[in-house]
Structure formats: C-alpha cells, structure tokens
C-alpha cells in the first residue's frame, strides 16, 4: 500500500454474453451463492459478493445480467447499462471484468469494445480455456493484450484454473490503459463533432449511448430518442439516420475484431461441431423432438410427485408433533394458542412444499444449464405463436408449475412486447405448487378412492387439474391475442448455445437459492396471515363473544352433553361471534351460490394473500390444533354447512372449490411482480378481476349443475 490514495475496497463489475460461464467465474471468485444459466437471460437479479485480492485490496464484485451489447432491448440488459452510465453512483465500477467464451470470442469481443470505449479499465477473462487444446484453438495473448489495451486471464471456471491470475489482473487495475477501440468520428464526423461540442466534458461513446438508448421496452417506441434530441441539447437526427449510424458503428467494431482475430486466433473448425449437430438432429426433429420433450416433462412431473412424497410426509409429521409439543409444553393461554394453532401450522404449511420446489428447480436448472431449454424454445415457437405466445413462453409456463413469481420474471427475454405481455398474463393459470395442498385436501375429501382402468381416480383428478391449468393458459392467450391491439415487431432472436454437462456446484447453488427465496418470501406472508387470522378468530367485539361459555351452558342445559361436546359447542359459538365470524357471515351471500359456507369463505378470502394459506386457514378456523392431514381431513369431512344442513365438503362444493382455485388469481406476490414487470397497475388489476370473475362463474355453474 505505497499509494496513499489507494482505496481499501474497489468495485468490480462482471459483464459478459449469456452462456459464457460468467456466473461460474463469479462463484469461483467469491464463493458465495448464486445462479448460472445456459439459457439467455437467466441471471435476472444483480448478485454481489466480495473477494480478497493478492495486494490486500477488497473487491466488491457485482455479477450483472448477461448481455450481448450495450444497446439494450430488455429490462435485464438495462441493468447493465445503467450500472455503467451512472458515473457518480457509489456502485460505479473501478474496473470491469469481461467474461468471454474462448469458442465464441468474436461476438464476446463486440461487447468488450463497447465497454472499453466508455473508458473504464477492463480485464478480459477468457473462460472455458480448458477446451482450447481439444478444440484446436490458439490465442496470441500478447498481441490481444496490446491491441485491446487490456490484461487477459485464461480461466476455466469449470476446472477452477486461472482464477488467481484473474485476481492479480483485477488488483493491478490502475495499470490498465483507458483508450477507445474505434473512432466514432469516422462514422459521422459532423454529428460526433457537434455532440462533443454540446457536452465537452463527457466521453463521446457514453453520450452516443445516452442518445440512442431506449429504456421503454414495454412498447418498443423510440420515445427516449426523440426526447433526448429535443430537450437535452443533443444534435437532432432522425431515427433512421441514428439506426444507420448504429449499423456503421457495429460494422466498424467487427472490422476491428476480425482484423485482430485473423492475426492472433486460430480454431480448427472440424474438431468441434460434430457432437452438437448430431444431438441437434435428434432433439430438433419434427417427430422425435416432441416425443423427447414430452418424455422429459413426464419424467420431471412423475419424479416430482413420487420422490418428494417421502420428505413431505416427514415434514408434515414433524410439524404435527411440534404443534402438539408446543400445546402441551407451554402454559395454556393466548401465546399457546398463537403458537400451536397459528404459527406452527402456518409455517408447516409452507415447509411442506420444500421438497417439490427443490426438485422442480433442480430439473429446470439442469434443462437450462445443459442447453436443452433453448432447443425446446426452438421446436415450440410455431405452436406457441398460434396463440399469441412465443417459443420462449415455454420457460415461464413450465417454471410456473413451481411458482408464478420467478416464472413471470423469466418472460423478460421475450423481445416482442405483445408476446411477453400475454405470457405474463397467462402464466398464473399454470398450476403452481401453492395450489397443490388445496387440491390434495379437497380431492381427498370429495373424490372417491377408486381405480379406473388401473389408474387411481384421485391421481387422475389431480392430473386433470394440471392439464386444465395449461389449457386455460393457452386458451386465454389466444383470446388476449385477438383482443389486445398492440403493434409490435415480430422480433425474435434465440441463441442456440452449445451443449454442456451441467455443473453440479451451479445447480446446487440454484436449488438452494431459489428454495430459500421461496420459503422466506412465502413464509413471511403466511406467518403474518396466520397471526392475524388467529387473532380475529379468537377475539370478538360483542357481549356474546365474551360470555360465550355461560350462554352455551344455559342453552344446552337440558341436552346432557359430554364435556368434550360442550367444549366444541362453546368453541363454535365463540367462532361465530368472533371478528372473523362476523366478517364471514357478511360475505356469505356472495359465496353461498358457489356452495360454500362462511368458514370456507374466510379461508377463501385469506387465500388472496397466498393460496397455500387455505389449508392453514381452515385449520385455524376449525380450531384443529395440529397440521396432521388426517386430522384436518376428518374434521373437514364431518363438518356440516349451517344453512343447508348437508356436509360442508360434499361433492358439488368440492368440485366448485377445485375449479375456483384452478382459475382465480389469488396471490398478492404475483400481482406485485406483474406490476413491476409491466410497469403499470392496469395489467395486474385486469388479471385479478378477469381471472377471479371467471373462476366465480365457472364454480357457480358447476355447483348449480351438480347439486
């Protein structure tokens, strides 16, 4: 530390094309948890970590979303550009590390030249260097370093080699030259001279980027361009002129790169492509491609249900005994009730999903990392387009079976706004894991345990509900495609990455991260709701509630009840006069035509925070003390609808409930994420009202026909 001005911590931004193993390099540098994908646009969040550099400096490393260029076309890429344009921000990088794939150097260097022209020190990490010998690649590092004005580290994130050298290059960032690669003035000397004159203190390329930047991806209009010209003193040029200049710029960059590659990069082409093309021929085949896709999906869903049932039973039992233990150990009273009847069953209700969510993310990340997901996109585009969707909509629709929230976010790499919007709007129809416990308990209550043609009827019902979700998603996409009058270009580019053996470490990180995320987020909501619900159910405003015991005792004096029956009678009298009972009775007229009593109504209301609350809410409302499914099930099976005198969960009510849950939009978190992704409340509100309205009508018709 000879230099006194040397900071103790520097900002390092990790940037690169998708599929370059950027996140694996990040994993190697920081050792923290995050995610890598083989599917373009998978690193949707900004990830940070720190590492110690050889000279004692601490580096704060930000893993930015994969991007091909600084001319952004998606919300993901915008993150990258904003990070690089905000010079005054405290996150502004002191040095950028560009991660490039040694086999795809040409396209990777394109991004490199753009960032270099922002005059930020850049280190080039050439990844997957372990395949160089096998694929007959040679690289003249000295020439590249000189011509590009950078330091090059050959790394292999897979094998963990070259990382120390990369750290050293980062540590010596002050020695890196900050020169431009191309001369912008050669593109249009008049324009760029004018531009520089208007802002003498700024770098030319940064200005140019600002002028041509279009941050409004919701509807590819070049509003920003026109505004920028008029308001901020940018030279005025038409959009077409700007586009032509962009093309010239692109050509100039590639000319620079090609010249360099000709001199210092050799690749023996015949060595590599065979495996890829042979596998492509099968996986993209017009018959086998679909058969294989179908079989893989079948395997995924089968294994999710078969394999996760064991850990799920275990978790279920664990929480049942935990609730039991809390009830018996703690002194009776408010706290005991809150814990054993509110919080523990509530948390248990979410923990039980962990195995399924983990399996689903495991499969999805394997499909992405291997490069297969891009092939699915390729074979599905035609089919999806017929319904106003996009081949890339397959990813949200499949991952929607885990949770709609990451699924909606994964629609980000759909370039066409209309197709992206429709994908976002219909994704919540796919059966997410939160519907599963609701389905399971209702199916157990109303569908007989018979076999038809050797197939379990209950299992068939469940499969039917999953199919219903997909069909509904596709159908509503078709309707939306007819209704929505949005003009957007039929713009579609999907990278077809090479096939890779998924890295175990990356997959493990993904599964752990995503599962943790789900549990923490959903857990918070469920915890809050169970507490509120428990409070509302165990308190009441009126005299009747306070004097419940005396009133019930007086009423039942002549009936000679056992003490247990008496307790039940008191409890149900209390419940009816509690806050929640009053609320339930108020809404009952609305839900009675669907075949629900007020208790189901309450559970339904709470489900609008998150569906998985339903079972927990019923448990709380019916004051079932533990989360043991048998207990809840038996309890519900015996429940009588006060107004009809029939079983509360008979066949018509059960079917009506199943349909309601299949179609209704009942997840605040999804609505919030849709708002964020569409940048307006309009779409989530439309989703909420049309989906729920549709659910209401379908359930109404079903109940009235069946009863």
């Amino acid at each position: 530390m000879q230099d006194k001005t040397m900071p103790e911590q520097i900002n390092v931004a990790l940037i690169g094309n998708p599929n370059t193993g950027k996140t694996s390099v990040f994993n190697q540098l920081t050792g923290l948890n995050h995610k890598v994908g083989n599917y373009p646009g998978i690193t949707v969040e900004k990830k940070e970590g720190t590492c110690k550099l050889p000279n004692g400096l601490k580096a704060r490393i930000t893993d930015l979303p994969g991007t091909y260029s600084l001319n952004v076309t998606s919300a993901d890429e915008q993150v990258v550009v904003e990070h690089l344009l905000e010079k005054t921000s405290e996150n502004f990088p002191d040095v950028v590390v560009i991660v490039a794939d040694v086999e795809n150097l040409k396209r990777n260097l394109f991004l490199f030249t753009q960032i270099k022209d922002l005059k930020i020190p850049v280190v080039l990490a050439v990844n997957m260097s372990d395949v160089m010998v096998r694929k007959g690649i040679t690289l003249d590092i000295e020439l590249f370093e000189k011509q590009l004005g950078t330091k090059i580290a050959l790394v292999s994130a897979r094998k963990g080699t070259g990382i120390d050298h990369l750290k050293k290059c980062i540590a010596d960032y002050r020695e890196l030259p900050v020169n431009s690669t191309i001369g912008l003035k050669e593109i249009d000397s008049e324009y760029f001279t004018e531009l520089q004159k208007a802002f003498p203190r700024e770098e030319l390329y940064r200005l140019w980027l600002k002028h041509t930047q279009n941050f409004d991806y919701t509807n590819h209009k070049n509003v920003a361009v026109q505004n920028a010209s008029a308001k901020n003193g940018f030279p005025v040029r038409s959009e077409n002129e700007l586009k032509r200049m962009q093309q010239k710029e692109t050509i100039q960059r590639y000319m620079f790169i090609n010249k360099l590659l000709d001199k210092g990069y050799k690749k023996d082409i015949s060595a590599a492509k065979d495996f890829r093309s042979r596998l492509d021929r099968v996986l993209l085949h017009r018959v086998w491609g679909y058969v294989i896709f179908f079989l893989i999906m079948l395997l995924v869903f089968q294994s999710i249900y078969n394999w996760s049932s064991y850990p799920m039973d275990f978790i279920d039992g664990l929480f049942a005994s935990l609730g039991e233990w809390a009830r018996n150990t703690l002194p009776p009273g408010a706290l005991n009730g809150l814990l054993s009847e509110g919080i523990i069953p509530g948390i248990g209700g979410i923990m039980i999903f962990i195995p399924q969510i983990a399996f689903l993310f495991l499969f999805i990340s394997i499909l992405e990392e291997s490069g297969y997901m891009s092939r699915v996109v390729f074979i599905m585009d035609r089919f999806m387009r017929r319904f106003g969707l996009n081949g890339k909509s397959v990813v949200p629709l499949i991952s929607g079976t885990a949770c709609a929230i990451p699924a909606v976010m994964s629609a980000r790499n759909i370039e066409n706004w209309k197709e992206r919007l429709i994908t976002i709007l219909v994704t919540p129809f796919t059966t997410c894991s939160a519907r599963l416990p609701v389905y399971l308990i209702i199916i157990a209550l109303v569908i007989p345990e018979k076999t038809i043609l050797g197939l379990n009827l209950q299992g068939l019902t469940l499969m039917f509900l999953y199919a219903l979700g997909f069909v509904m998603a596709i159908f509503s996409a078709w309707v939306l495609n007819k209704i929505l009058k949005i003009k957007s270009r039929s713009f579609f580019i999907a990278e077809m990455p090479g096939y890779k053996l998924p890295l175990l470490r990356n997959i493990a990180y993904t599964v752990v991260d995503k599962t943790k995320d789900f549990v923490v987020n959903a857990g918070k909501i469920i915890l809050a709701i169970s507490i509120v619900l428990w409070f509302l159910a165990s308190h009441g405003p009126s005299v009747e509630f306070k004097n419940a015991e005396e009133i019930v005792h007086a009423q039942t004096e002549n009936e000679q009840l056992t003490s247990e029956e008496l307790n039940t009678a008191v409890a149900s009298y209390k419940l009816r006069n509690s806050y929640i009972g009053i609320l339930g009775h108020t809404i009952e007229p609305v839900i009675r035509p669907l075949g629900y009593d007020w208790k189901i109504g309450i559970a339904l209301l709470t489900s609008f925070a998150a569906r998985e609350v339903f079972v927990g809410a019923l448990a709380t409302i019916y004051s079932v003390g533990n989360d043991d499914e048998e207990t809840i099930k038996n309890r519900l099976a015996g429940e009588i609808n006060e107004s009809t005198g029939e079983k509360a969960f008979n066949f018509p009510t059960g079917i009506s409930l199943l349909l309601f849950y299949a179609f209704a939009m009942q997840c605040m978190s999804t609505l919030a994420v849709v708002k964020r992704e569409t940048m307006s409340w309009k779409w989530p509100l439309i989703q909420l009202f049309t989906m729920t309205g549709f659910a209401y009508i379908v359930s109404l018709v079903a109940y009235q026909l069946l009863k």
């Binding site: 394109f110 089919f383 039929s490 713009f491």
Partner: protein, 79 residues
Amino acid sequence: MKMNKYTIAQLKRGEKGIIGNFSTDVVPVKLQEMGCLPGSEVQLIQFSPFNDLLYLNISGSFFAIRKEIASLIEIANAG
C-alpha cells in the same frame, strides 16, 4: 420483384451464403450486433418443425430467428 430476391429465408438446409445489404429500418440492431452484417457468412443449420424459425450459424454465432426477419436479409452470392 419480391420473387427474385434471394434471402436467408430461401437458403436450403446446410447451404451457405454471404449476407448482402439490408435495410437498417427493419432489421433489429440486436441481430446486427450478433454478427449479422453485410459481408458475413451465413449457414442455415436447420428449420424448426413447421418452418417457422431458422437455426443459423452466422460467422461462428449460433442462433435462431423467425422467417419474417430472415426474408428481409438478402444473400449477396449463394455458395
């Protein structure tokens, strides 16, 4: 007129060509940045089933684009 144009969309499977001129108004910048520029070599690797997407190798970059866009990009000399 349109009939005579030889574009990427008319390439046969496995066929190579050199990209000619195209209008910057209609071909997205992003595609150009992936290497789809006048003078670049393009090879059609495969059609998607039902002929909607084209799987291309443009100077070492592998990606798929829709037929509509492909039909806007002319081939300078088929080979």
